[in-house]
Amino acid sequence: MSTLSRRHLIKSTAALAAASALPMPAWAKGQSLSHARKGFGEVSGEDIELAIGNHHFAIGNRSGHAVAVNGTIPGPLVRLREGQRARLHVTNTLAEDSSIHWHGLLVPFQFDGVPGVSFPGIRPGERFTYDFPIRQSGTYWWHSHSGLQEQAGHYGPIIVESADPDPRYDRDYVVLLSEFTPLHPHDIMRKLKVGEHYFQRDMLTASEGTMPGAMRRMWGKMRMNPRDISDVTGSTYTFLVNGHGPQDDLQFAFVPGERVRLRVINGSAMTFFNLRIPGVPMTVIQADGQDVDEVEVDEFQIGVAETYDVIVSPPAGSHAIVAEAMDRSGMGIASLTSHKGHIATPPPLRQIPTLTMADMGMMDHSAHSGSGMASMEGMDHSMRDTSALPADVEAGPGVDMVAPMPMDRMDFPGLGLDTVSHRVLRYTDLRARRMNPHREIDREMEIHLTGNMERYMWSFDGRKFTAVTDDPIRFGYDERVRVKLVNQTMMAHPIHLHGHFFELVNGADHMHQPLKHTVVVQPGGTATFDLTANEPGDWAFHCHLLYHMHAGMMQVVTVRPFPEGAEA
């Protein structure tokens, strides 16, 4: 319990946050489970104690069971220093196994925290110690990799301070985006499996929407739904910023003239967010914790598990930080304010986007102009020509669509942001700030992202994880491989490789391809990355939409052998 003394509130974020969350409501007393607090404390040093426990959590008029770490949602900010050694002691007080995965940290594989891949998991009552050196700096996060605990609150931010201080900002805040649902995560999973489009309450109706009849019939013919934007929506989710709901008036204070660094982390289970601060341009300086050349934008879409660090210099006043769910079913809100107590008024939710021909992986010349009539030529394409798939893709019941012409979509800003008039970040805008080592490509690989929306089946290459437990994706140690991800579905998938940073093949010169741990593959499109597999061991590779992973969109990557003199 010595860590209690080390834990202290972050002066800025948490003090403001705590003001709205404390004291505990009286009705909470006498419950068998304590209420998890909104917002997070901070832990740092060489020895860090984290305790996973069952709690209640309430936000607005929604409340339910939660799994919280150190009694807060999100769990504590783990603040580390580049070059230090970290011993993270994790005590599991749940009645089931748990784990912590350090998302984006380069660690020995046995401390990566994926039960069944890197270690056996943390048993009920067990105190497990992760012990590794910190080899990097930047903004990252941690979360459970056991079952669906992440959805229930088991996640938190990580900041690794650089050995070289960055003079470009005066203060920094974590902006951790997530969701809360009163439903048990297994209940959500079951509803996704059995209740067709259960959470989608913005489907096209007879009277609504501008889609012409011919297009509607084409979607119907394919047995697809043009409003399949998000599987789980604001119908059950309350969107959170640092554990605070839209009514909680979370504030981030600044002094006019200051440069404020916002460390935006998408720690949600299922939600892509469109992040903007109306009237305040943002300069992107990091993507997934890695420095990039500065890019000024007005808005960016952040996929699940991605992080972006931006610097803003807001004028005096109160500015809304708007984290709008991609399907526009709700938003997370906070105020960036120079007058304590002044709450910014957020803009209204924008209209839900509708999928286009481009999202089906068809050539579409008019999708972005909105009408879609000129693209009826696309109807000649079969939407499930399985002969177009390579032989190693299994075209079974788990594959409901094969994109006729999947094209590279790394210049696509994200669903619904292709038609806005201001500047939106695209992967093609990112350029690594530091030079990558020069390497030739040894091997090329294609991985197909496959699924069946009606059956709620998701997989790589048409095979769920259960079918490939003995057939991992294999890399030789130090092998350089170009991996093309081909999205044969109409959903965007954030694909995460554990233990490595890969370089996006995004048109930047190949010494400056941006480093990422998670890449969003747009619907019906492709994304390509170069990987130098230089972290030996076994690593998880999966879609970071929690319920897609749970449905089978997961694989193990092996990197062999261990170099001479390595620990294992």
């Binding site: 019941p397 994880f465 749970h550």
Partner: protein
């Protein structure tokens, strides 16, 4: 050999694309378009000039340029020159332990965790009980009022499932007229359809057992269909097909046209059925989803015996058709 074939393929693909590239046309105006070795991936990237222009800006100004030609150019560039094929694994990739974690934590500790991992990532088994129609039928023409139930349940994984179906009808305050239950093994045979086979037991109008084979699923244009052949223990072959469509009026108000038809391969005097189409039953239901799981509805159902079966009914002094008002409930859990 394989690499040569790949290169040839790349050329075939890249050449027409280069010809479509408007920027290239501009540069080489009046001359034969030159082969772009960089775009075709013949040269290592460092010998190629950096990509010109800013694709995002193009997309903003002219969606066609960004979507079409820009993307094609990107496609050609992203094939790595001289790289081995996907299955040309380096030998070292197969060295070392099968599971790296076993070397550290021991396979006795890891094996159960691996089984758990598989269960949690694709091994889900679940089920559903679905009451499709539970309704009172008020006769519009003064005939007897009746009731109908039509429900099913399933349990299993994504591919293999056990399915129970039951349906029946009777007169309110009167006798049960039809009642059946089916026990089926269901297997996904494609992305949208399941093959179902098993047995059906009828308790009314007479005890009878059938072998069942059928398909159920989602047809193009979003029609839910369920069709089956029934071979009775007396060797009589019949069939039934149902189709329905959900039209959302609002997010909660849903209009559902539905049609059911029955067929017989031969006369079945015991059931007063003649060969051919025996019954046709179109209906229209308007439901309101209080929650998706619970939706009361009102509807109209026209039920008609057809062909020889209708003649048999007329001879027996019965009305072969009738219009009913349905008040019912659709629910699942």
């Amino acid at each position: 050999m394989r690499r040569a074939a790949l290169l040839a393929g790349a050329m075939l693909m890249a050449a027409p694309l280069a010809a479509q590239d408007h920027a290239e046309h501009g540069k080489n105006a009046g001359t034969q378009p030159q082969m772009d070795h960089c775009a075709m991936g013949h040269l290592p990237p460092e010998q190629c000039p950096p990509k010109e222009g800013d694709p995002p800006a193009e997309t903003m100004d002219d969606p066609m340029a960004g979507m079409d030609h820009g993307a094609h150019r990107g496609m050609a560039e992203k094939s790595a020159p001289g790289a081995a094929a996907e299955d040309a694994l380096p030998r070292r990739a197969l060295e070392g332990p099968q599971h790296a974690a076993d070397a550290i934590w021991g396979s006795a500790a890891m094996a159960p965790a691996r089984r758990q991992l598989a269960r949690e990532n694709g091994g889900m088994v679940t089920g559903k009980i679905f009451v499709e129609r539970l309704e009172a039928r008020l006769a519009a023409d003064g005939a007897e009022d009746g009731y109908v139930w039509d429900a099913q349940a399933w349990y299993g994984g994504d591919i293999n499932r056990f399915v129970l179906k039951t349906e029946g009808e009777g007169e309110i305050g009167g006798a049960l007229e039809d009642a059946e239950i089916q026990a089926l093994y269901s297997r996904a045979i494609g992305p949208f359809f399941d093959l179902q086979a098993g047995v059906r037991f009828d308790s009314e109008p007479e005890a009878r057992t059938h072998l069942v084979v059928g398909v159920a699923g989602l047809a193009p244009y979003m029609f839910h269909v369920d069709g089956a052949l029934f071979l009775s223990d007396r060797g009589k072959l019949t069939a039934r097909i149902e189709a329905e469509y959900d039209q959302k009026i609002t997010q909660r108000l849903i209009l559902q046209p539905r049609i059911e038809a029955e067929f017989a391969a031969q006369d079945i005097p015991a059931r007063e059925i003649g060969a051919g189409i025996t019954k046709i039953e179109p209906g229209l239901r308007l439901r309101y989803e209080i929650v998706p799981e619970f939706a009361p509805y009102i509807g109209l159902e026209y039920e008609a015996k057809t062909g020889e079966t209708a003649d048999i009914a007329r001879l027996a002094g019965e009305d072969p058709d009738g219009l009913k008002i349905a008040l019912g409930l659709r629910a699942w859990f």
